[in-house]
Symmetry: C2
Amino acid sequence: MSIEAKFRKLGTDNAPGQETRQNAAGTNALLRGDPLEGRKVDFSHGDVDAHEPTPGAFELFSAGVATGGAQAYTEYRGDLGIREELAPRIAGFTGAPVDAADGLIITPGTQGALFLAIAATVSRGDKVAIVQPDYFANRKLVEFFEGEMLPVQMDYVNADDRSAGLDLDGLEAAFRAGAKTFLFSNPNNPAGVVYSADEIRQIAALAGQYGVTVIADQLYSRLRYSGATYTHLRAEAVDAENVVTIMGPSKTESLSGYRLGVAFGSKAVIARMEKLQAIVSLRAPGYSQAVLRGWFAEPDGWMDERIRRHQEIRDHLLSTLRAVDGVFARTPQAGSYLFPRLPDLAVSHGDFVKILRLQANVIVTPGTEFSPHTASSVRLNFSQDHDAALAAVERMAALIERYRA
Amino acid sequence: MSIEAKFRKLGTDNAPGQETRQNAAGTNALLRGDPLEGRKVDFSHGDVDAHEPTPGAFELFSAGVATGGAQAYTEYRGDLGIREELAPRIAGFTGAPVDAADGLIITPGTQGALFLAIAATVSRGDKVAIVQPDYFANRKLVEFFEGEMLPVQMDYVNADDRSAGLDLDGLEAAFRAGAKTFLFSNPNNPAGVVYSADEIRQIAALAGQYGVTVIADQLYSRLRYSGATYTHLRAEAVDAENVVTIMGPSKTESLSGYRLGVAFGSKAVIARMEKLQAIVSLRAPGYSQAVLRGWFAEPDGWMDERIRRHQEIRDHLLSTLRAVDGVFARTPQAGSYLFPRLPDLAVSHGDFVKILRLQANVIVTPGTEFSPHTASSVRLNFSQDHDAALAAVERMAALIERYRA
């Protein structure tokens, strides 16, 4: 494959955060009526001004700078002292041991961890099971390493509200067809659903039976709403060496500006990830690593309050969306994504996303980024200023009416 | 190729900074005599406590944090305002225009820029010309993307002291054999030599003639000693779209803890690099990007003083090394690496590197990391505390005598 062809598959024109590079020509001809006034809301990512970084993060960073060279230059997998602080906390959270020396790596963001984990498990032609819909980069990662995707559907629309709706027969068929890696996010990005204990146990059993390595992206697993239960795959694994779990403090904790993530579990995979990190970025930012000392050690009540505020926003946006005829929106049990399905419109849903930006100052991510089967949905990261988000979704509702088919 | 085989080539056992993960078993049996006392010196990287980060860096970072979400989340290629500040400064330094919008990307360290640049130009089976000796990751990057290396020798030992000694006939032969990418560092890492104006012009002419994309790693191009002249390849290029230049503030400016690098030049390659960065790490650390506002804008005299102190250390270490019978050490014209060739020893030079760590508290990088033909050399990053470095090199000299063949 030529380098041009290889990169054509990595299109970022609709990727969250890249909207400023879009060209509006072509969309202007579709516009109806006047723009709707209102404060710009960028639902492509969370607003860390509305939900501020964990208290003490900057002070930990400053202490890292004061430490000097020892914090600037660490092992490629991250500072050992910090890994030793984190390991028992992460083990406690996920319900299974974490080896600080050999079973944990600190990466530049969770994206860095995902990239390294896929690179460390997928070679050209390898079959990889992925979920549809799921995080948009999963597909691109498999394609970049020339793996073969075996998509498994997640019918979150028709599932009961305690399950994600994964097609477990489809997953087994993918494993039987030779998939050696299974990559999925839990809570699911974009749908915000959490896999039930039964689903996780069946995934674990199937992975054990077929010898599949599972990469579990649990980025949002701390932001869980009232009534949600959560099962960590690694605690149910048949062989712990076949599971890599990925987390990071960029979302719930609003520490994205420090670029930090972790992967933990399989020592063999972590060792390969470190070898690759050596040529990809060397290490996570040295001083930033120190910020992890405060992770899973937030002030009492801080996380509860963060969850409470997000749940309020979730519920208000859901009522506004559900008042629009033809919109389907499942209640997210965790995370900060809404993934409403819109009714038929007089323009394509892809164009409607551009229209929302041009006429309503509202940025959302098109559903096609997450699955070829969710073109009529859009993703909203509702970790926003409450009032601004509500007003933005009201403008979105008004434009749905204006462009209704 | 199996994933295990692919990663076997990425060995980091002797990679700079990973020495703490080495096992001493096997080396102990070779030891002669008692350890030499002295403060540990880690020549595998610079000491940012001895040569502190640029003044104002932390304040710029803090201002970035205070900016909040707009600094935490930037375009994947980095904040536009920062790119607009940097572009004219970099253009002035390198003597050719830099397009802030489309011709510049901010990456997690220069390692991040190198990785993306190779990934954006090399596909499986593509031929890539690289220099021997050169930065150890170059080889690994080409191997990881399953390119075919065409090594070109640089005879820095016998070259006149104004030239790097690149085998230009060998370079043309590589281009004629089909190399479409040429990757090299200038100043050279590890040898510290600078390519002459004539060498650079011939490289540019050959690249133009054969349509080769050149990736010029100029990480150390600001740290130049008295009498050195420096020619920027991009200013001599036949087609500017065929050159990508890589720099960063990690070394001379001691800002490694913030993990920042830049690549600039070819818009087509930069565009591919950004698409890939989206799945590798999303972006350089958001807050850290703000530190670049101080780059190429250091206080008057600061760079001169930094260079003066490094030149003093260089000269003292060189006299100590040259006093040892059989040691060859060329004077580096730029950068902070010494690459002395040692005499024959009773142990392998690889074992001697381990012995230095165990008996002298001195960490150096074995010459085999840079070329298969420089096994008898070791690399020292002399950006260290002056007295500690001198004492460490004296211990090294003593151990050379102790283990002399």
